[in-house]
Symmetry: C2
């Protein structure tokens, strides 16, 4: 069931957030807004403590667990605040007063995580990378660190972890906002994973926290109750009204991922998409990607043009073809094509074709 947007000309969004939503999911949402499953109520009108919404939330958790192959000793929380709030809430929940945490800095978003963690705990930098992931054997995790934090995909910089190190029992904590559900994850390697929903899980306002049982129960006394992870585990994410529409929408996104064949199939598709663009960059002798091949993101493909005026020209020409939201992050500049799950291969093909054409035309002019 492929339901086109009502718009007459084809728009392709490569926006970093909120990302595109599959047309068939949008069609389901429109249906459920009129009437949820014959209830006579809109999906927006279901009482949060009622049987209907409870089933929606439970099913979303079950589907998320199945897709991720989540071991039973991991708990799933559907919270508010965004990853930026959890930059502080993670240390507030995992560390006692005075504890230290190690952080690996690899770009814009991990630096934000560091600056927000510093508000509430002692932060030690285990390793720092400039447009590359520092080799694992150079990481120095602090003695007695409560955890070591990484950002698995630097959405502003276009850099992604394709492997993670063993840390001698120090729990690995990861902000996976940009790549959760874009590929399989081996949860044996992680202690806690968190992600805002507006990339691959639907819409802003929902933050998924997945946490290993044994790490819970250390929330500082002043933590607001809806952000006390252990309390939220006990109350099944219902200390107060959860972000219901965002949870419902995530549920629809999860069903869509199941129909695509699960995360292994999704990862293959995402790899085909990013490879198509990286190939266009490499073969162009015009575009430059500053990230070494082994650390390149399959989710955010970032590259540069020779001059600022060519960059502007590129963005305008792309827009005139309906290829939207390709500006790089303000901290980095250049071009960024975000290829979250819902961006179809055919849109990437159009973009790659346009890139080839634009490069050819410009090389002629030089």
């Amino acid at each position: 069931m492929q339901v086109p947007h009502s718009n007459p000309f084809q728009i392709r969004s490569f926006a970093s957030g909120p990302a595109a939503i599959p047309a068939e999911v949008l069609a389901e949402v429109r249906r459920d807004l009129a009437d949820w499953s014959g209830s006579g109520l809109s999906i927006l009108e279901l009482p949060f403590a009622g049987a209907e919404f409870t089933e929606i939330q439970d099913e979303a958790e079950t589907d998320l667990r199945l897709l991720l192959g989540l071991p039973p000793h991991f708990r799933v929380l559907f919270l508010q605040g965004g990853a930026s709030a959890h930059f502080s809430l993670v240390p507030l929940n995992l560390l006692s007063e005075g504890d230290v945490a190690s952080y690996v800095e690899t770009g814009y978003w991990s630096a934000r995580a560091v600056s927000q963690a510093r508000r509430v705990c002692a932060v030690h930098i285990a390793a720092r990378g400039q447009r590359a992931i520092p080799p694992f054997d150079t990481w120095r995790v602090a003695n007695g660190a409560g955890y070591c934090h990484i950002t698995t995909n630097e959405a502003a910089d276009g850099l992604q972890f394709h492997d993670v190190p063993e840390l001698n029992g120090v729990p690995l904590v990861a902000d996976m906002t940009a790549d959760l559900l874009t590929r399989p994850v081996d949860f044996a390697r992680y202690g806690l994973v968190y992600a805002s929903a507006q990339k691959n899980l639907g819409t802003a306002g929902l933050t998924v926290v997945i946490v290993r049982d044994d790490l819970l129960g250390h929330a500082r006394p002043g933590t607001p109750a809806p952000f006390d992870y252990a309390l939220q585990v006990k109350e099944r994410s219902r200390v107060n009204t959860p972000p219901m529409f965002a949870i419902y929408l995530m549920g629809r996104m999860l069903k869509w991922l199941q129909r695509l064949g699960g995360l292994a199939a999704v990862a293959e598709r995402n790899l085909r998409k990013s490879s198509r663009l990286y190939d266009a960059i490499e073969s162009s002798e015009f575009y430059v990607c500053p990230i070494p091949r082994r650390d390149r993101s399959n989710v955010n493909v970032c590259f540069r043009l020779p001059t600022a005026s060519l960059t502007t020209e590129f963005l305008e020409a792309a827009r005139s073809r309906g290829l939207l939201h390709l500006s790089g992050h303000h901290s980095v500049g250049g071009i960024r094509a975000s290829l979250y799950n819902a961006v179809p291969e055919e849109a990437v093909e159009l973009l790659a074709g346009f890139m080839d054409e634009f490069a050819r035309a410009c090389r002629k002019r030089v």
Copy 2:
């Protein structure tokens, strides 16, 4: 434009939260999900920093200010967390370490506010009411209190403030989750007002905070950045991605309130609705409302039947007529009819008619 739900039989929801949404607003949302204003993108796909969403957010703030007649020295914030998170976040933002705040306890929700504030500040109880608002001349606000907190509408208990006292310069802070936008508010009487969105502002996941300029700038060092009110004022509620869909939906609700004629007209309509039910209670010699007339809520009409089995019978008979979600709050029991803005007068008329009929039938049996 009255667009009926697709459901063949008419359902009337008196749920306390999420509340009903006007059919014409649901129709607009369905339209905008397919295509936002000819952009070729769904309302769910707009980038948060782009011109389209900025306009949506700015217009929502402008409309909210107009409807409330908000003076310029009040700032409007669109945050996450829910009122329950702001039970702690308000003292974290307004008080310094060691400061005291006064609270007035009038029911279930103000007691929750007190227990959450106690996690982060010294709480002094200025007055306590059992199913009635304590007379203003009995309130004892603590010396040097940073603020005095009230819950303007106790949604579980069915009690509402219809006036507030002068407090000799101590700022009045109010949780208005259940009655913001149900009637005009004199903001000269308040220092800070906050409300979750799922009652009269649309959908869960958005918390509106309205705060007087001069109270800002005291956030405790450990407050997560997206919950630092002063920082969010500076960043126009965009320290991180805001709950975009909930903000958009609030915008549609505000336009709908404008079409109804503004808050004075809305308040009259709400008064007609609640009076119809209180009249049915008073004239029944069967139902009992435990709240004194002057303190009764126009938003949540709570009443009791003579026995628990009659209560069950009432709920079942109501459900068979399509009158849903009338169970009282678990802390109170009995019946609760929530009459938020979107509940139409005609639904209240149906409920009142059913109440009359049910009472007549039961009185005969006795």
